[in-house]
């Protein structure tokens, strides 16, 4: 999957995407991380041939999403951000209708449907009306729909939106099993930092329609310069000799002193801490308190986007409410 200078302007005014260049290798799990309104959904809708970009190009397996939309549609599966199953029929029936739309031959249909249901842990509830499902079950059913056709690439728009942590974990466990068995590519949008951190091979951070950072979760975190060991010491004995000794450790890149507090920047805090403690003890420095701070994707986000991702709690409640109200209406 590849985009070149992708730009989308809605109604001549709202610039939702502003020159996005991305390259996703096949077989990878790729996360697009960004706050509300960053343009995640817009990008995914262009990639799934729903809307046309204002300018720029996008390719899925080398096929242009603008000119070869029909071929692209045969290879992808997509779970929209909003709820996307019929609630007045059963879970099984939802899969059956999709199996028919995708032209899965009758001989294999039943087997594939039950596999997908089982894969998402829904077999017991297969014949219940979707109306009676919980938010997590609905999301799993949607994933089951997406897996049914054995796609080469899965587009998931906020696949765990509105789910509690255990339900999120369940969805991801099952998605990873599917990916391992089928070697599919997964491209997902999220505004949950930890989700991108845990499940993605590669992350792109998007803000206001621009990709502001790109890399593996580790490399993004390392790009902040490493982990920080904070020590609170008895000031008296902390001289330049100690300083030089600690600086001599090859994982340590910097020391910042401020009164009784010493901040040591290290690439690998856990391993360097014992050595540092040895040096301090040898020189008679007594330490009152130690703490290690590892950079989180939140810090990464702060650095590259200039803002923190909004706290998700409030958003999540309204999302759940939204999903629920949609179900009730159906």
């Amino acid at each position: 999957m590849k985009t070149v200078g992708l730009t989308k302007i809605y109604g001549g005014r709202i610039k939702a995407l502003d020159g996005v260049d991305l390259n996703v290798e096949s077989g990878k799990v790729f996360a697009l991380l960004g706050p509300n309104g960053a343009g995640k959904t817009t990008l995914m809708r262009i990639l799934t041939t729903q809307i046309k970009p204002t300018s720029g190009e996008a390719y899925v397996f080398g096929l242009s999403v603008v000119r070869e939309g029909a071929k692209v549609r045969e290879m992808v599966s997509y779970v929209p951000q909003e709820m996307s199953v019929w609630t007045d029929i059963s879970g099984y029936e939802n899969l059956l209708i999709y199996a028919k739309i995708y032209g899965i031959p009758p001989s294999r249909r039943n087997k594939l449907i039950w596999e997908a249901l089982e894969n998402m842990g829904l077999s017991e509830f297969a014949n219940n009306l979707v109306k009676t499902y919980s938010g997590g079950m609905i999301r799993r059913l949607e994933c089951a729909c997406a897996l049914l056709t054995r796609p080469k690439i899965l587009f998931l728009d906020e696949p765990t939106i509105g789910l509690d942590p255990s339900a999120r974990k369940a969805v991801w466990e099952r998605l990873s099993i599917f990916r391992k068995e089928n070697g599919a590519t997964i491209f997902f949008n999220t505004h949950y930092m930890d989700e991108a951190d845990l499940y993605a091979d590669e992350i792109a951070i998007i803000n206001r329609g621009r990709i502001v950072a790109l890399g593996t979760p580790e490399s993004l975190k390392h790009s902040l310069g490493g982990e920080i060991i904070s020590l609170e010491v008895e000031d008296s004995a902390f001289g330049s000799k100690v300083l030089e000794a600690i600086k001599g450790l090859d994982v340590v890149s910097d020391i910042i002193m401020g009164g009784n507090e010493v901040n040591i920047v290290s690439r690998d805090a856990e391993h360097s801490l014992p050595e540092i403690m040895d040096i301090l003890r040898l020189n008679g420095v007594s330490v009152r308190r130690v703490s290690i701070t590892k950079p989180t994707l939140d810090d990464v986000f702060l650095k590259y986007a200039g803002v923190r991702l909004e706290p998700v709690a409030a958003g999540r409640i309204s999302e759940v409410r939204h999903v629920r109200s949609m179900i009730r209406r159906g």
């Binding site: 549609r73 045969e74 909003e82 996307s84 029929i89 209708i97 739309i101 729909c145």
Partner: protein, 254 residues
């Protein structure tokens, strides 16, 4: 072509499965036409104010009430589409390898299936009220076919409206504004010749008039002289609406 049929049938199957789980809408939508047939018909009939060509007034308006009901079902079918737009269902359908023609026409046909079930609820009530149908199975089946096909056209119209009026409220507004004029500017309750001139003119462009006329001649009068014209009008209406609604369908998710 195979894909087309496959998708259209999947859409019809979806509707049947929905009906299997919940038929309350069919019953609640049957109340109004039954009132026309059971109350309005006998009362107006006793006045003998409307020339019906020698058939009892209740018999005369039965096809009208029937078609009013099935047409309304189809016209409000777009509400389903609006709901599916608000949820992500349409987005997902449009990312599936299915042509928009197959989706639109399939769903229009699905609405036609719903309309047939609607008719099958109302007809027994009419029989109980003593309405005399032409004793011909072929005519009866043809009439149901006319209802099926014409409902498809109205549903496509409704899908087209839904593509422009993207919210439930706006859709309801248009739907309400459309249905009653369609009903009163047709030959459902009185012959077109009795209407004011402007209304007559409108009635000639009102597809509902042709549907009522076709069903009336098949089910009640047995006089099939006008049937070819009626069928031709319904066919043109369907073809135009299917094409226009399909062309505009992608607009709905933009």
């Amino acid at each position: 072509m195979r894909g087309f049929m496959r998708n259209a049938f999947a859409m019809i199957e979806l509707e049947m499965r929905r009906l299997k789980h919940d038929r309350t809408e069919l019953y609640s939508r049957a109340v109004q036409p039954i009132l026309w047939i059971a109350v309005f018909g006998p009362i107006m009939g006793s006045v003998r104010a409307i020339p019906t060509g020698g058939i009892p007034y209740t018999d005369y308006i039965t096809p009208g009430a029937l078609i009013q009901s099935t047409t309304f079902v189809s016209i409000f079918y777009g509400l389903t589409i609006v709901w599916e737009r608000e949820s992500g269902i349409l987005k997902k359908l449009l990312v599936a390898p299915a042509s928009r023609y197959s989706i639109v026409i399939g769903r229009a046909m699905a609405s036609g299936v719903r309309a047939i079930f609607q008719a099958l609820i109302i007809i027994p009530v009419a029989l109980l009220m003593g309405v005399r149908f032409t004793p011909s199975v072929l005519n009866f089946i043809l009439a149901l076919l006319v209802i099926f096909v014409s409902s498809g056209g109205f549903a496509a119209t409704s899908i087209l409206v839904a593509s422009f009026m993207k919210t439930r409220e706006r859709f309801m507004g248009i739907g309400q504004a459309l249905t009653m004029p369609l009903f009163f500017a047709s030959n459902a309750l009185y012959p077109v010749a009795m209407m004011p001139e402007i209304m007559q003119w409108i009635a000639h462009f009102n597809p509902m008039s042709y549907v009522v006329d076709a069903v009336r001649s098949l089910m009640i009068t047995g006089n099939l002289a006008n049937l070819p014209i009626d069928l031709a009008a319904i066919f043109i209406f369907d073809a135009v609406m299917f094409v226009v609604a399909s062309i505009n369908f992608r607009r709905i998710i933009e």
